[in-house]
């Protein structure tokens, strides 16, 4: 798994790439918690995720809950059919703000 981060205005955009599973979800959790603090809005690009398991979903739920504590707006975008399938199987899609692309995600609060 690889990640990259950049700021656009007051929105922090984190892109996640590769496999998010038991081997990498702890690292992703640490990284996203760090990204959350100091950001007004955090949006995650899921477009380059090759594989996602329930530990990856659990990580995103934890980040969502932390964002509610820190009053940081949190959203996901660019969900591939494979990633969407995992969200569907875990029945948690409704708790996230999900956008089709970065433009919508960044402008989603405008």
């Amino acid at each position: 798994m690889k990640t990259s981060s950049r700021d656009q205005g007051n929105v922090r955009i984190v892109a996640v790439e590769g496999d998010v599973d038991l081997n990498s979800s702890g690292e992703l959790r640490k990284l996203l918690f760090e990204a959350l603090h100091g950001a007004k809005r955090l949006v995650i690009n899921l477009g380059a995720i090759r594989y996602l398991d329930s530990s990856g979903i659990a990580t995103l739920i934890e980040v969502l809950k932390e964002s509610q504590k820190t009053k940081t707006e949190f959203a996901l975008f660019a969900m591939s059919p494979a990633v969407h399938e995992v969200f569907r199987l875990t029945h948690v899609i409704k708790i996230f703000r999900v956008y089709e692309n970065e433009e919508q995600a960044v402008g989603g609060w405008a």
Binding site: D21, N23, D53, S54, A58, K65, E85, L89
Partner: protein
């Protein structure tokens, strides 16, 4: 095709076994093989991904709950074509699963854990937990597609 025949053109039934450490670094290796296997048996991409996810969740549960993330445990996975099903048998000698925790999470819950066993139950046709001696077994089955001719 008779029910007792293999789904492959050769007439030989498929069987593969892995013996792997309880180290999550090996999970992508198994996932790659299972996904390819599902494609050979005629499942479409989405179905193959779901079956692979279910097998991966079973292995992940063993690593997390039976071996508590110690990488030196042994996990055995046997994939075997039987009559009209593909069977996945996951075995370990770690702590036994707590039956009260299997699918204990409410489906619409916002809790961050407990999703793996639901995925297994939803994707597979059957999933049965067994204990024999010091070993834990999870037997999962998925009904095969009608034919894989032309593969």
């Amino acid at each position: 095709m008779q029910p007792s025949e293999s789904r492959s053109r050769s007439g030989v039934r498929f069987k593969a076994a892995w013996r792997l450490p309880s180290d999550p670094a090996f999970l992508p290796v198994v996932r790659g093989a299972v996904e390819q296997l599902c494609a050979v048996f005629g499942w479409n991409e989405s179905e193959a991904r779901s079956i692979t996810l279910a097998v991966d969740e079973a292995l992940t549960n063993v690593i997390r709950h039976a071996y508590h993330k110690r990488p030196d445990g042994v996990i055995e996975l046997i994939c075997e074509e039987k009559e009209s099903i593909l069977e996945f048998l996951v075995s370990d000698t770690g702590d036994a699963p707590d039956p009260a925790k299997i699918c204990a999470r409410a489906r619409e819950s916002q809790a961050a854990g407990g999703m793996g066993t639901h995925i297994i139950r939803d994707v597979m046709d059957t999933a049965e937990y067994q204990r024999s001696g010091m070993a834990n077994h999870l037997v999962m089955t998925k009904r095969l597609k009608q034919s894989v001719e032309g593969k």
